[in-house]
């Protein structure tokens, strides 16, 4: 390879040189920054950061609410997802069908409609007052369907001979799941799970329609009070990135740790 192309192209084998990687990163960053800088300059917009800065406490409170709601939903939807995946493989046929109905209905309808129906009809009928708890439940039900499918695909990716081996050494059904299936399923499920968790954080923004004052809700309020939409929504984007980027990095780290050849 010529020296010049070595700076720009990844080698056929092995990782690229650190300098080349940095250069590539810089070029990409400049390109993105250039496009947006050009667009915003053309906008001829008078920025009013000072007006929005007044409401920084509201932003922080909203952001924190998003963190708590997303994190709670992330945990409960993961548990739910595993249960759904197990139900879909259950010998009890009614359980299988129930899990399938749930997955198809949740995946096939807009989250917006689910939030309205669950909040104004179901939660109301069962006298469930706390909108934050209801919000977490709705988000968990929504995300749990996707996670269930991801986990099911992971479980099904474990080879037949692996199950034979596990049975042959005399493990019980529960032990086979615990020691053989789940560790291997987790590895193949990590990339789609990362995507799903990131979506979950962003989907929590829709809870603003039932007046849960999470991050997006706060930003929308600030935007209308100060009449400065960009100053309100750009920090909003940044606030979500602060949450979603660590998820991506963390799952990539897990992927590295669970790497092995099959």
């Amino acid at each position: 390879m010529k020296p010049a192309s070595r700076l720009f192209l990844a080698p056929a084998h092995g990782p690229p040189a650190p300098a080349a990687r940095l250069l590539g990163w810089l070029i990409a960053a400049l390109l993105v920054a250039g496009v947006f800088a050009f667009a915003f300059i053309r906008l001829r917009y008078t920025w009013n950061w000072a007006g929005v800065w007044e409401y920084r406490a509201a932003f922080l409170r909203g952001w924190w609410t998003t963190v708590v709601v997303s994190l709670s939903a992330l945990i409960t939807s993961s548990v739910l997802g595993v249960l759904v995946a197990l139900a879909r493989r259950s010998p009890v046929l009614a359980l299988r069908s129930l899990a399938q109905f749930y997955v198809e209905i949740v995946r096939g309808t807009p989250l917006l409609v689910q939030i309205y129906v669950f909040f104004y009809v179901v939660a109301d009928a069962f006298r469930f007052g706390n909108r934050y708890v209801v919000g977490v439940i709705i988000l968990s039900l929504f995300s749990g369907a996707y996670i269930g499918e991801i986990v099911r695909a992971g479980i099904e990716s474990v080879g037949r001979t692996q199950l034979d081996s596990a049975r042959a050494i005399g493990l019980t059904r529960a032990q086979i799941y615990r020691h053989v299936i789940f560790p291997q399923a987790l590895r193949s499920s990590l990339p789609p799970l990362a995507g799903q968790f990131v979506s979950l954080v962003k989907d929590s923004s829709l809870l603003s329609i039932i007046a849960i004052s999470e991050f997006t809700y706060s930003a929308a309020k600030v935007s209308s009070t100060t009449a400065s939409p960009f100053e309100a929504y750009l920090p909003l984007a940044l606030g979500y990135l602060v949450l979603t980027l660590p998820i991506s990095l963390w799952t990539r780290h897990l992927e590295e740790r669970h790497r092995y050849e099959t």
């Binding site: 080879g159 001979t161 692996q162 034979d164 081996s165 596990a166 049975r167 042959a168 050494i169 005399g170 493990l171 019980t172 032990q175 020691h179 053989v180 560790p183 291997q184 590895r187 669970h258 092995y260 050849e261 099959t262």
Partner: protein, 244 residues
């Protein structure tokens, strides 16, 4: 061991794989199942391993019927048998050592320290100690099969089953795995072996059963079957396979 089959049948869909097998082999130490592919060898081995259920008939090992209709008893039965398949025996997310420790600890009630001790000693015996902390992906095919053999052996099974343990290996690795099996044979362990390596079957097995189209067509001491096959089918099979 004593292996008794009594009108044992098994079919998958409308395909009959084992048809009414009846056999009584007493005082057999090592049995080789030979015959053409699709003849039912692996299916029979899976029944002996307690991994599948027959459609009808009984299978007795050392006089005790295999409890096909009682899942907890079948699980206990499986724990007394060591099985090595063609490939992918080992769990890829565990090291060689962990692969051996898992059944000792979870299925046989050894403490973790105890299980590690047993596993390391067995690995050492098969000159695999240097690979104890490698995952299967870092081992050669032959090493993987030897670790699988150690795992099957570490639980002190009353019977070892080998389902074509070398068919996925190149000749050099085949030799290394066969050496390990030969060592077990010389220790006088009971085993049942499916193999296409006829000279090896002849060297390590004291009994041979020839299976084709779901039936046991011929059984006898290894020498006798290989030297003077009685049925035309077995003779034709051996001639074809020993031709080269």
């Amino acid at each position: 061991m004593r292996l008794e089959l009594e009108s044992l049948s098994k079919s998958f869909g409308d395909q009959t794989v084992l048809e009414d097998l009846t056999l009584d082999l007493a005082d057999v130490r090592s049995l080789a199942l030979i015959g053409p592919s699709g003849g039912g060898k692996s299916t029979l081995l899976r029944l002996v391993a307690g991994l599948d259920r027959p459609d009808s008939g009984t299978l007795r090992l050392n006089g005790e019927p295999v409890p096909f209709d009682d899942e907890p008893a079948l699980l206990r039965y499986r724990r007394t048998i060591g099985t090595v398949f063609q490939a992918f025996n080992l769990f890829p997310h565990l090291t060689a050592l962990e692969n051996i420790v898992l059944p000792l600890e979870k299925a046989h009630g050894h403490s973790r320290a105890d299980a590690r001790c047993i596993a390391l000693a067995e690995l050492d015996r098969f000159r695999l100690a240097a690979h104890a902390h490698k995952k299967p992906g870092q081992l050669s095919g032959g090493q993987r099969q030897r670790v699988a053999l150690v795992r099957a052996l570490a639980i002190k099974p009353r019977l070892l089953l080998f389902d074509e343990p070398t068919s996925a290996l190149d000749p050099e690795m085949t030799a290394e795995v066969l050496d390990a099996i030969r060592a077990l044979s010389e220790e006088g362990r009971d085993f049942l072996l499916i193999t296409h390596e006829m000279s090896f079957a002849r060297a390590v097995a004291d009994h041979v059963a020839f299976l084709a189209i779901g039936k046991i067509l011929e059984t006898g001491p290894a020498e006798a079957v290989f030297e003077h096959p009685q049925t035309p089918a077995c003779r034709a099979f051996l001639e074809r396979i020993l031709h080269f």
